[in-house]
Symmetry: C2
Subunit: 324 residues, 2 copies
Amino acid sequence: MNTTATEIAHQLAWIAVDWGSSNLRAWGLDKHDHVIAHASSEKGMLSLKAADYEAELHRLVADWLPESGQINVMVCGMAGARQGWREAAYLPVPTRLDQLSQGAVMPTLSNDRLRVYLLPGLSQTRSAFAHFDVMRGEETQLAGLVADNASFSGLACLPGTHAKWATLESGAVTEFTTYLTGELYQLLARQSVLQHSIGNDDLNDPACRNAFISAVSEIYEAPETLSSRLFGLRAQDLLDGRLPSGEKRGAVLAARLSGLAIGLELSGACHERANDASITLIGNQTLCHRYTLALNAVGYQTQYLDGDDAVLNGLRLAYRALKA
Amino acid sequence: MNTTATEIAHQLAWIAVDWGSSNLRAWGLDKHDHVIAHASSEKGMLSLKAADYEAELHRLVADWLPESGQINVMVCGMAGARQGWREAAYLPVPTRLDQLSQGAVMPTLSNDRLRVYLLPGLSQTRSAFAHFDVMRGEETQLAGLVADNASFSGLACLPGTHAKWATLESGAVTEFTTYLTGELYQLLARQSVLQHSIGNDDLNDPACRNAFISAVSEIYEAPETLSSRLFGLRAQDLLDGRLPSGEKRGAVLAARLSGLAIGLELSGACHERANDASITLIGNQTLCHRYTLALNAVGYQTQYLDGDDAVLNGLRLAYRALKA
C-alpha cells in the first residue's frame, strides 16, 4: 500500500476503527472497501477519558481527510463500553451479526468532519441453559465470519485473555461463553507460587510441545484435578529429576501450565459436543495455532481466520448495513 | 496461664516451635508437656536469612531459660526448608507420623543453651497412582491427629493458601495432594478482572451462605465449567438485576467465588471417594467451618481439630519419639 496523502484524501470513502483496551487501530477505505491507509496508537480505552477520544481519533486520521465533506467512522470495541467514549448498550443474544449497526450510538463531536458510529457488544442473560455473559469487540470479529458466508452456522472460538466461544446459527450468535483462560495463565505464571518455576515456552520445541499436549489431555479428562495439578507444577520443579535444567526447565513447565489452562477451557467448551464439525478459530495466528494443537489433541478439527481480517470484514459488514 | 518468669525457668523442660513463612510461634513446656509460656513474632521464613534464625529464636525464649543446662527445641515448618535455617530433607511417603523426628536435622548454634531439631516435611514422587507433591509444617499437624490415636486411619484436610488432603492408614501418611485453592481465590479476588466485583463475604449472612453453597454444588458437579463461571461473576455483576447493591453485592459475589474455588478442590479431592467416613478438618476454625459447609453440601460429614492444638500435639509426639 503505497498511496500518497493526496491519493488517500481523494479516494477515502470511510474509516474503520478497532478501539481496544490497550491500543487503537484505524483503516482508511475506498468506495470498494479496500484499505488505502492504516494508522495505530497505544491509546486504548484504559488510557483515555471520554473527553479524549475525539482528539485522539482526529490525530490518527486527519491527514486522510478530503478538503471538505463528512467521513463516516465505524468503530468497534471498548470505545463503546461504559468506561469508554459513549456507552453502546449490549445487544442481547440471539443477535444477527449483520445487524450490529442497529445498536450503534453516535457520540457528539465538536468537529463535524467525522461522523462516528460506536458498535454495541453482545450480552447474554441467565436462563435454564445459559449464564450471564458479555462481549465487546469480539462480536465484530464474528461478524467477519458472516461477512463471507451470510448463513454461517457452527462453533467459533476467539482465544485471548478472556477467550470467547460462540455458537452461530444462520449468521446469528445464539449463545456464547467467556473463559478466563489467558488471564488465569498470566496470574499463575507471574504472580503465584509458580512464578519461580514458569519460564517462556516454545511449542516448536518437542519437549515443550509434548508437555503442552499431555497437560491438555490430562486436564480435559479430569478437570476436577486442576487445583492439584497447578501446585503439582511447583512440586515437580522441586522433585522431578527427569526435567531438563536451566531455561528449558522453565519452558517445559510453562508449556504444562498453558496446557492445563487451555485444556480446562476445552473441557468446558467442548463438553458433550459432537466433533464432526470443525471449530473456527479467530485471532492471532500463534495463539490460534496453540489452540489448534490442543483441540486436535482432544479430537477436534479446526479452521483458522486471521483476527485482523475478521475485524475488518466485520466492520465492512456493519458499514454496509448502515448505508443500506 | 499466669506463670512468673522464675516459675517458667524452674519448670521449663523443652520448647516447641512452629516456624511459618510469615510468623513464628514458640511454646515453653514443662516435664508433663503442659504449656507454661508462649511467645510469637512476625519473623517468618520469608523475612529471615539463615544466619538470623538463632538470634530470633533466642530473643523469643531467652527469658524462659533456667540459669544453666541445655534446653531442647523441637521445630516444625519452614525453618527446615531449603530457604530456611537448615534444610531438613523431605521424608518420602508412605511415612509413619510418629517417626518424623528420624528425619530431623540440627543446625549449628553459636550459643549452646539451646539444642535445636528441625523436623522434615513430606514428599511424594510420581507413580501410576500419584503425582509429585510436597508439604512442610502440615505433617506435624497430621502427627497431632495421630498423637491422640496411634493407628488413625482416614482422610484429613488442612484448608489454607495451599490446602492439603492426606490419606492416613494406621498412623502413616500414604498419599497426599495439595490444592492451590486459597492462593487461587486471592489472585482472582484481588488481581484479576474480578477485583472490582469481589468484596468480603460473611457466611453468617443467608444471601452469602446460599451463594457459597450453590457455587460449591455447581462446580462440584461440573468442574470443567470453572473458567467460564469465573468470568461469569464479572458478567453477573454487570447484568444481574437481582443482585443486591453496594457492599452486599460484593459480599455475595465473594461468597460465590469462594464456593467456586473450594468446590473445585472438593471435586478433585472427593472424586470417587465413599462418603461413609467423616473427613477430619485441621486448621483455623473459621476456615474449617467454611469447608464444613462445603463438604456437607456435597454429602460429606466432617470432624474438626483445631490447628494450634494439632501442631502442638504433633510437636509433643515428635519430641517424645526423640527422647525415647
